[in-house]
Subunit: 425 residues, 2 copies
Amino acid sequence: MMKAIRFYPPAFDIRVESVPVPRIQHPDDAIVKVALAGLCGSDLHIYRGHGGVTQVHTCGHEFVGEVVELGSSFEQAVDGRPALYAKLKIGDKVVSPFTSNCGECSVCRLGYTCRCPSGFLFGSPSLDGGQAQYVRVPYAGGTLFNLSDPSTWSSSMPAAAKEQALSAITDSSLLLLADILPTGVFAALQALNHPKVLPAITGKPWPSMIAADSDAVATMKPEDQILTFAIIGLGPVGLCASVSLIDMLETQRLQYQIIAVDPVESRRDKAQTIYDKIKSSGSASGKFAALSIEEARETVKTWTAGTGCTAVLEVVGNNSALSLAYDLVRAFGVITSVGVHGSPAVPFVGSQLYNKNVSFDFGRCPARAMFPMAFDLLVKRQDIFGSVGDSASLVEKVVSADEAVEYYAAFNDSKIGKVLFDMQV
Amino acid sequence: MMKAIRFYPPAFDIRVESVPVPRIQHPDDAIVKVALAGLCGSDLHIYRGHGGVTQVHTCGHEFVGEVVELGSSFEQAVDGRPALYAKLKIGDKVVSPFTSNCGECSVCRLGYTCRCPSGFLFGSPSLDGGQAQYVRVPYAGGTLFNLSDPSTWSSSMPAAAKEQALSAITDSSLLLLADILPTGVFAALQALNHPKVLPAITGKPWPSMIAADSDAVATMKPEDQILTFAIIGLGPVGLCASVSLIDMLETQRLQYQIIAVDPVESRRDKAQTIYDKIKSSGSASGKFAALSIEEARETVKTWTAGTGCTAVLEVVGNNSALSLAYDLVRAFGVITSVGVHGSPAVPFVGSQLYNKNVSFDFGRCPARAMFPMAFDLLVKRQDIFGSVGDSASLVEKVVSADEAVEYYAAFNDSKIGKVLFDMQV
């Protein structure tokens, strides 16, 4: 038997219970002994009863741990199957993305792992989650990242550098790989790589930046290459998006200004503290301001001479955030929405979208596919991601699983930020 | 005095009248003597009274003609101004995009010419249109394309080749540059260059195709690189999008299948005839089918094993077309919408967009910026664009301006396809 944090419908009912340890059900399964499990904002959808969930299940889609049992598929290499089926061993340290994915179908092969037709969301009625001492991972060879053997997921970092990086990295920061860090990186990556953003990045006007033989209407001026971004929502994912965006902009030596927006002062303070920390390490040269919604509206106008943002990262998942994103974005701008949107109709009429030539990228992060990029950032910015409980930390506290009931309630009431459960104490 | 086709509110009231010839009002103006003026589907918005237009004005936003008068800005070169202010001469043959644009502001410098804050739509209450014997073009140095002097708009084509191309090109095909051809090219260009389409094009999965040091989850198979497109709406713009898309796919030697969708049989027939003509010239190797809506739904399923289209080009501008585009597109697919959308709310709830990871590119074509690309295609495919009145022609008939009243009515009743007015007979 094992300890597990379980949800009882219809809402607000979390119980820490003793349940059977999961077993291998399929040759591709792995059983992972969970070290740390995260409590995520999207867990609150189910907690509050918004998901319409009617089934008791084990919560949690963020976990890091150690492989303790493997199905028979892991016994020998089979040509064409994901490398992990040949290489994963008992005792390896692993982190899982928030959904399982086979890693073999056409959707996974294109890198769209979060939409694998065989995949399930951990911590849902379809698949018991990681807020337990043990968790069963389906299609484990396609799903898991093997932290103990970087050769299985990265070719760009020398093996010695990887090992050194892994030894210096904290367990609580590895947990961020499960969801929030890759989701932040995904938002930043989409915003920076959209064709409508490329003229400002490349200095070549539309469409000559993608059609080399197409001559420009006019010559761009240096000020046309200042990129302005808004990040709406400064919860943990918004903060990850902010760190990732700054890192990409600095790596590409671009000129930028970022307006980080949240109605909650403590979240703005954290965003500003994180930016200041990056700046003090010499890695942030752009403008940055963490602002309330009304301040943001004014500042976007002032900083862009009324034109609006090059791109807006929407990391909230409701219509107020989408409408604000529309108001802040420039004509021919991009809205990258990684917020989890629900059943309300989107708040736009067709002419608004036509008249502003808006582009949108909606949807869930393919966390498994984003892992190598997210891991690089995690290593690079351990000063931000490695800490627990200080003013720049994404993780506020690590607590015992036995305290789950009170911490679910406190998290739901915004009395505490990101909490991790230590599942083995 | 001159002949002009004028709109009288509230609706269905077109009059061919004698009005004063326009004069230079600003040093940047040019007066163009119109040879041909087009009747476009979007003219019907005003004609039907949908635009809420309450002012009498001269119609038309598609015209090709000859410069007969220039403002004083064209007398000498001024450093930093568009080349045309120094180079445009009386007698030069010009075509105008459907909106004016200054060519100098930050919006124009980025190539987003159709959203120039100083620009106006020709043939609207703000700016008299081109269905007249003469038309005043504001910011003419930023707006016009000088067909007589290709050095002002293209550096890639040798001068001799350009002159030869121009001499072989028909006037009625040049008219297509004003709106429908660049709009079709714009739709195809956006669809093919979206990051979510790049994995299938490059053979490198998300996100390694844009983040070179990011290792892929799995190896792609050859069949993952077959691109499937739907084009919804086979009016003149949809046909241009189809020709442009095929040209880009062939140039890049990509494997593709295109499903062209329209409820009207005669439009499907024309789309199929055009494809067959391209194929018979040896320039189309992909699969192509022009289908009704229900046939398209089935065929997308069959051709993609249920996955859906890589990208959908929406060239209609209403909610039925947007909803169909959503149904046909794959998860992590792209919807490029160049249809002119009106006041209805867009027909999606947030979870639909999140759950399918859909991307949208909405909005109007920056026709002035797209001109060099569109012109190259016009030259390349004179076999399609150069004809009038045959089964593969985009232009159905060239008529006298005196017949405007009956042709507006016939066009409104779908009794005739694209009509051009010869303004000088």
